[in-house]
């Protein structure tokens, strides 16, 4: 059974198409990777799955655990078991990281202990919980704070938007190991630009998002090695994409 299924999904942002006819299936228990050049729509895909209002679904459907969530409010999707670590989370003055973590962990007897364990796992000082959310966090701190929230939430499906960018080598190992054990019994969608995180996390399948749609899918190692060797120029050779581009060109109004 699929935990996530995208069916002919097309999405607009401010009237501009950012995703076109995206089809994607992630079976329960699998972790998939999404590759793609800058601006190909990777983050848009995550935002659309979450239901952010500026990412308008024009056509197609989003299924989560066989429930149609296409028109559901963000928080209800999250309650079904979707977690996310954002790439560029907004800073919110006065709201503390701990305020959010506490909602997930609750106020049970071991809550304080668990909070401390989480900060330790990600090599963050415990004072970090009383800092204003994402305000003045360094790039690496942002990533770790996002992942900390996901670990506290324990969703059954997690989307990670470039968890490895901006994280220094030392912390990459920490983050990688934490995510690897976290993903063991979960499903996920992982966006990575250079694939560093894949040294630690096993992915069952990879997809390439190119020119607003999923251009190809396959074995993670194979796709990654193509991208690392040739860059996304490799995609330009793809017959499916060439056909798409050609069709679009001839459909242009004269």
């Amino acid at each position: 059974m699929n935990i996530l299924k995208l069916e002919n999904l097309s999405v607009e942002v401010a009237g501009r198409t950012v995703l076109e006819d995206v089809n994607l299936e992630i079976p329960r228990g699998e972790v998939h990777v999404l590759f793609g050049p800058n601006g190909s729509g990777k983050t848009s895909l995550i935002m659309a799955i979450l239901g952010f209002s500026s990412y308008r679904v024009v056509s197609g459907k989003i299924w989560f655990n066989e429930i149609d969530i296409t028109r559901m409010p963000i928080n209800e999707r999250v309650k079904l078991g979707i977690g996310v670590a954002f790439q560029n989370p907004p800073a919110i003055r006065g709201v503390k990281l701990g305020d959010i973590v506490r909602v997930f962990i609750g106020s049970g007897m071991d809550a304080g202990q668990r909070q401390l364990e989480l900060t330790k796992t990600l090599n963050l000082p415990s004072e970090f919980l009383s800092r204003d959310l994402n305000l003045g966090f360094s790039g690496g701190e942002l990533k770790r704070s996002e992942i900390l929230q996901v670990l506290a939430q324990k969703p059954c499906f997690v989307m990670l938007d470039e968890p490895d960018s901006g994280v220094d080598v030392e912390n990459l190992g920490l983050v990688g190991k934490a995510l690897d054990s976290f993903l063991k019994e979960r499903s996920g969608l992982l966006i990575t630009h250079l694939g560093y995180i894949l040294r630690y996390v096993d992915a069952d399948k990879a997809h390439v998002l190119f020119d607003k749609t999923i251009a190809c899918s396959g074995k993670t190692t194979e796709i990654l090695s193509h991208i690392l060797n040739e860059g996304y120029k490799w995609c330009e050779k793809c017959p499916i994409l060439r056909k798409r581009l050609y069709e679009r060109r001839i459909n242009l109004p004269l």
Partner: protein
């Protein structure tokens, strides 16, 4: 007739520089006297209202208490362990006790500033005299409550607060009205004297009524190596509130900090500023204002930093959050440098709640309303006040309770 009275008489029709002009004739001066009694034996509804502004009726965790209702002083006392550290009494009593009080009276604020200062002189209804003795570090806050129990009453308070050299104290003042009170006018004159190496943190919380008018007039003199922190919280609707407290950093290395949290609801008109005058070498000032305007509230958040010494520095930060399209926030930061070498700066930002922030919190499982209230409460973060933990938590709880009801 004394010189002060004469000046007051001449200014009794003088409009204030800012804020809507009020017709003083429409307020009543008749009040029934309240007998003095322990705070805890006051009527339950008064206790409830006063505890909403930080007053502990049981006097627990407070070093001393002053409680005034309308034109009567109902209670004034220093807790046993703090006797000999602080003095609390009405300013009228203080005049009887200290001949020197007149040196502090109308010294920082001119009696003929406007019709409200004049009114406070011509129809003076007590107010508190708080004095921390030299070298005393008072470990628990002092509390004072100025309460209005009768509709349409005019209450004119004149307070004198003195922190003698090397002393340290926290003061929490709550102003509130009875739930039957709709209209009225409160004028509060407060003159603060923070002497050498003293530290005074003053936190004032206002809970007025929807048709109530408020005109505080405050000034502080900060001497060598002394620190004055002035916190102000206004969360409840008020018809009009206009104040522009000033701190004169006269002393070498004197420090002043103003923190304002304003929450304007319904058709409230809030005009609140903070003025810092840097006169001493090494003097430093900071003004932080947070304003939220909802419904059709109008908020003016002013600030004026004046640099008169070549080694002086001050910064002003104002953030406004608009929670409605019919509300407005007008941030007016002003910097006046009078000598080279003074370093004055400001930053001001007014905007609405950013959709990204709400949706981010929704992605953490909060509903839209919960996310909005979390952001609003976070915006009014009391950790800017620099209060001791217990007092900070008390005030935070109060703000949370008020905003939760309001949102």
């Amino acid at each position: 007739m004394s010189n002060t009275k004469e000046k007051a008489l001449r200014a009794k029709d003088k409009s204030a520089a800012l804020g809507p002009d009020l017709d003083l004739e429409r307020f009543s001066r008749d009040s029934r006297p309240w007998p003095s009694c322990p705070v805890s034996s006051l009527p339950e509804d008064i206790l409830q209202q006063s505890s909403n502004v930080g007053i502990r009726p049981d006097e627990k965790d407070r070093a001393g208490t002053y409680f005034q209702i309308d034109h009567s002083v109902v209670f004034q006392s220093v807790q046993k362990p703090f006797e000999g550290q602080v003095e609390i009494m009405s300013t009228k009593e203080a005049f009887e006790k200290y001949n020197r009080l007149k040196e502090y009276w109308w010294r920082l604020i001119a009696v003929d500033t406007d019709k409200y200062t004049a009114l406070a002189e011509l129809n003076w209804d007590y107010g508190y005299f708080l004095r921390v003795l030299e070298g005393q570090k008072v470990t628990l806050p002092l509390q004072s409550c100025l309460f209005v129990s009768k509709d349409n009453l005019n209450q004119n308070i004149h307070n004198i607060i003195i922190a003698e050299p090397n002393s340290e104290v926290q003061i929490i003042t709550g102003c509130a009205v009875h739930s039957n009170v709709q209209r009225g006018l409160h004028v509060g004159i407060s003159e603060f004297y923070i002497k050498e190496r003293a530290k005074l943190t003053f936190t004032m919380i206002h809970n007025w009524a929807q048709n109530f008018d408020v005109r505080p007039r405050t000034a502080a003199l900060v001497e060598d190596n002394a620190t004055f922190v002035n916190n102000y919280v206004c969360l409840k609707p008020v018809k009009s509130l206009q104040m522009y407290p000033a701190a004169y950093c006269k002393g070498t290395n004197s420090r002043v900090r103003f923190n304002n949290i304003l929450y304007g609801t319904r058709d409230a008109y809030l005009d609140v500023g903070s003025k810092v005058v840097l006169q001493g070498g090494g003097s430093r000032g900071e003004v932080i204002a947070r304003a939220i305007a909802s419904d059709s509230a109008q908020i003016y958040a002013r600030g004026l930093l004046v640099g008169e010494h070549k080694d002086s520095k001050a910064h002003l930060e104002c953030r406004g959050l608009l929670a409605s399209d019919t509300a407005s926030i007008h941030a007016i930061p002003e910097l006046l440098g009078k000598v080279s070498g003074t370093d004055l700066s400001h930053e001001a930002a007014v905007g609405k709640i950013v959709e990204d922030q709400i949706q981010y919190l929704m992605a953490r499982g909060f509903s839209e309303d919960e996310a909005e209230s979390l952001i609003v409460r976070g915006f009014m973060d009391v950790s800017i006040f620099g209060l001791p933990d217990s007092l900070r938590d008390e005030i935070k709880k109060m703000i949370d309770a008020t905003t939760e009801r309001a949102l």
